[in-house]
Symmetry: C2
Subunit: 495 residues, 2 copies
């Protein structure tokens, strides 16, 4: 029982009218009761203190990506307070990585427990000396929300190293199969790998999709295909890239074209797998986001993913689903790929961000065949699992996946109304749950909207060339959706 | 002022005899006063509970590298307590990542401060919305111990991603120089990088040394050259590897041969840089550990490093010093490369482990020329900086670098005595501070020593083919050295 929770009105569904929407009372996060009533912007954005701090930080590192400096003592729930005292409704939440808002009391209390505090302070090398409750903790926390059919999990530090290690697992599995399941290596393999040469360091590849983002370390970066600025000047592996569907909106009016688009992309995936094999650079795994995020919030249909899985199964290629941004609830399900009704579980699912710890789930075939192959000094951080445990308790207790669906409905309907009201400025509203996006008619207008939204009290995120993405916390309620939509309407009118 | 500290006897040097060694009283860490008097092993190792837990963990992930399960509630100072209640003197400290021992009171109190707690709970995207005290924090903590001459710092998550980002910084700097300092890109570069092809994703390399270890993500792994098991089945970049000195011991008896060994290695470095350039795969950076650790604790002389730096300067290659394992004090200086009297600062120094946060220092030339190029969602973790701040306070207050030197002296002398006493079993005692190692006469004997040490109450680490490495915390005192040496003598006698 979470002590900070006020008792729910009663045990049966009770509905109330919030901002003109009928909402199940049980779906209001208690956390939001102590928030500001609305955003409050007092200075120009960025404000004078922020500009000073930016100068200071820029002397120590490249700080050109910094938007605002935060006052995390005062930020609360869905509200982000900056160094100049401005209060923003946060619909971006640290690039989608704050699951239950700022300063959630249940999280603030996590380390009052002496055992938890010691788990935080005494960070072990988890692959060598884990704590005696670590296996139980993995089960109680990470496996309690594991994607169906995946019984193994490895913790990591961030999204990039989760993907990198997933690739390693895919390569090892592919080579082990090629060896007929044998677990020993030849002398030639052992010697050549030390020189970065085949057969020990084989020519093999991970396929990814145009517009995808999978991280910035060299393996992950070789699969990232969203924007040149991430990749320029970095050597990359000779790995293949396939097209990802680019749909026309609204979906209901373009079923036939979008279906053909699926077909075009799937055919190229199949072709590329064959070509790579012939070229002696076979595809061991395909990594795909359920919704391409950094690259522009591009969706693909459940049918696309089902067909993709069929091809992977037929060709012996591992399907790696990158749920770093989509995982943890924002689409209304714990894992976005649950929306796809896949015939069988994917081989690997990677996570980070809202899960607070990086890592990947896999089936037992993809467990590393030897020790020290999926390994590093820390292999995650028990302190993050303690916080995640509390996040999941809040999600369950407050029925937040249901709140995401309710809020998402309000948001999406509101965005559809706005795209009809401002057809020359925005279009292509899309997404699942509160994981939503729309396009502006140009990059320039998109940037203007995103900047002006700040002056109107809302933090949003840009992605791709022309998209604005919504990435609120799971406690974002219909009342916040209304504030967001009001600020967006004001912003669009001001253009 | 650290409140938990008992007052030092007086402000002038005061010496006392501990285990037959004259020690400056100010050099005894107060933290060790509440430790067990000595190790206590009650069960066979691994004990019955550990074996049960191992089975459980193995069902969830490859757990073959796990040695013991820990009771972190009971572990204290230099003593590690396992699931079976055995108390070990820890001379390995989580692969060298616990700077001031288990459950240090000053660290346990870090999050009693409400501001610190909120910094821990509200983990930001540091590249976009850092807290308003972040620039000050970077200065007060990380830059307060920066290697001389390096004024910039970027925080990261772990050693691997610190090195990966250092490589990116080196590549960017190399290409920017090639562009004559111009900061814009050609259309060909922007288009080709999206296909992982030159010129945008150029053929360029990072040189590393035989026996080196720099991490396990794909870029880092392409520079790791310690053992096949880390590299097998993973595609790798076509990057060059140079020999690293392999000295004969004792050093004082082999000056001429070791000097020639330096020369041999340096000449090959120079040759390889030229060959790579001619082959169209130029070396943008050389990464080197001040003491090769995972690969077998191989040292090189200050003269080797001075010459290496000269070559790098002459050829326009960035010198990246990987202080992930050596940094933070264990060699008796904050950074091991301070022992080398380099003519000028290295371009980049990477860190992790005892620094609790990953990251790298660099000079202003290596600051990324554009935003979003050295970037990821979290870019470090403020909670780790809060702990590091306290670690550095303890190091200063308790004069721990001086303790490391005093303890290292006792340890090294004791190891020299033992290599004379057991010349057919161990040899080649080496290292700086408490960052010490010795070789066994075979891998088999090495493994036996390391295992039997556990039964005799001491946790040690293996590295390379035949080496045993000592990686105690900075609070390891002469009295612990004596316990270690006694256990080692007992172990060697038992063989």
């Amino acid at each position: 029982m979470l002590r900070f929770l006020k008792p729910y009105p009663n045990s049966r569904p009770a509905y109330t009218l919030i901002q003109n929407h009928l909402v199940d009372c049980r779906q209001i996060s208690n956390q939001t009761l102590n928030e500001p009533a609305q955003p409050c912007v007092k200075t120009s954005i960025p404000g004078p203190k922020t500009l000073e701090l930016l100068k200071e930080l820029n002397s120590l590192q490249q700080a050109g990506s910094v938007q605002l400096f935060a006052d995390y003592d005062k930020s609360f729930g869905n509200y982000f307070v900056d160094a100049d005292g401005n209060e923003f409704l946060d619909a971006f939440t640290q690039i989608s990585s704050v699951p239950v808002g700022y300063n959630h009391p249940h999280l603030l209390k996590a380390f009052e427990d002496d055992h938890n505090l010691k788990a935080l302070i005494n960070r072990p090398a988890l692959g060598v000396f884990p704590s005696m409750d670590w296996p139980e903790k993995l089960k109680a926390v990470l496996l309690s929300v594991a994607p169906k059919g995946l019984s193994c999990v490895s913790t990591m530090m961030c999204g990039s190293c989760s993907n990198e290690n997933a690739y390693k697992a895919a390569f090892m599995r592919y080579r082990t199969k090629e060896r007929g399941g044998k677990l020993d290596f030849t002398l030639a393999e052992m010697n050549s790998c030390m020189l970065n040469m085949p057969p020990g360091a084989p020519k093999m590849s991970i396929m990814s999709f145009e517009g995808s983002f999978h991280g910035r370390t060299f393996g992950a970066l070789s699969t990232t295909r969203s924007k040149p600025i991430h990749k320029l000047d970095c050597p990359a592996f000779d790995w293949p890239v396939a097209p990802f569907p680019r749909y026309k909106y609204p979906l209901s009016e373009h079923e036939r074209e979008n279906h053909l688009e699926d077909k075009r992309c799937i055919e190229q995936v199949e072709d590329l797998i064959e070509k790579q094999k012939k070229a002696g650079n076979p595809v061991a795994g395909i990594i795909v986001e359920p919704i391409q995020s950094e690259g522009g919030d591009h969706e693909a249909s459940p049918e696309f993913f089902q067909k993709l899985q069929n091809i992977c199964k037929a060709k012996g290629v591992a399907l790696i689903i990158d749920e770093v941004q989509t995982g943890g609830g924002p689409t209304g399900k714990m894992w976005c790929h649950e929306h796809f009704n896949l015939p069988s579980p994917p081989e690997i699912v990677t996570f980070s961000k809202k899960m607070l710890t990086g890592g990947f789930y896999c089936n037992a075939d993809f467990k590393a065949p030897h020790p020290y192959r999926i390994f590093n000094t820390w292999m995650g951080d028990p302190g993050k699992l303690i916080l995640l445990e509390r996040v999941l308790e809040v999600v369950k207790q407050e029925n937040l996946l249901s709140l995401v669906c309710a809020t998402g409905k309000v948001l999406k309907e509101g965005l559809h109304t706005l795209e009809k009201e401002f057809p020359n400025i925005i279009n292509s509203v899309r997404g699942r749950g509160t994981f939503l996006a729309f396009n502006a008619n140009s990059s320039q207008i998109r940037d203007k909207i995103n900047n002006n939204l700040k002056s109107n009290g809302v933090l949003g995120g840009a992605c791709g060339e022309t998209a604005i993405r919504l990435r609120p916390a799971l406690i974002f309620a219909p009342k916040h959706a209304e504030i967001y939509l009001t600020a967006l309407r004001k912003t669009l009118k001001q253009l």
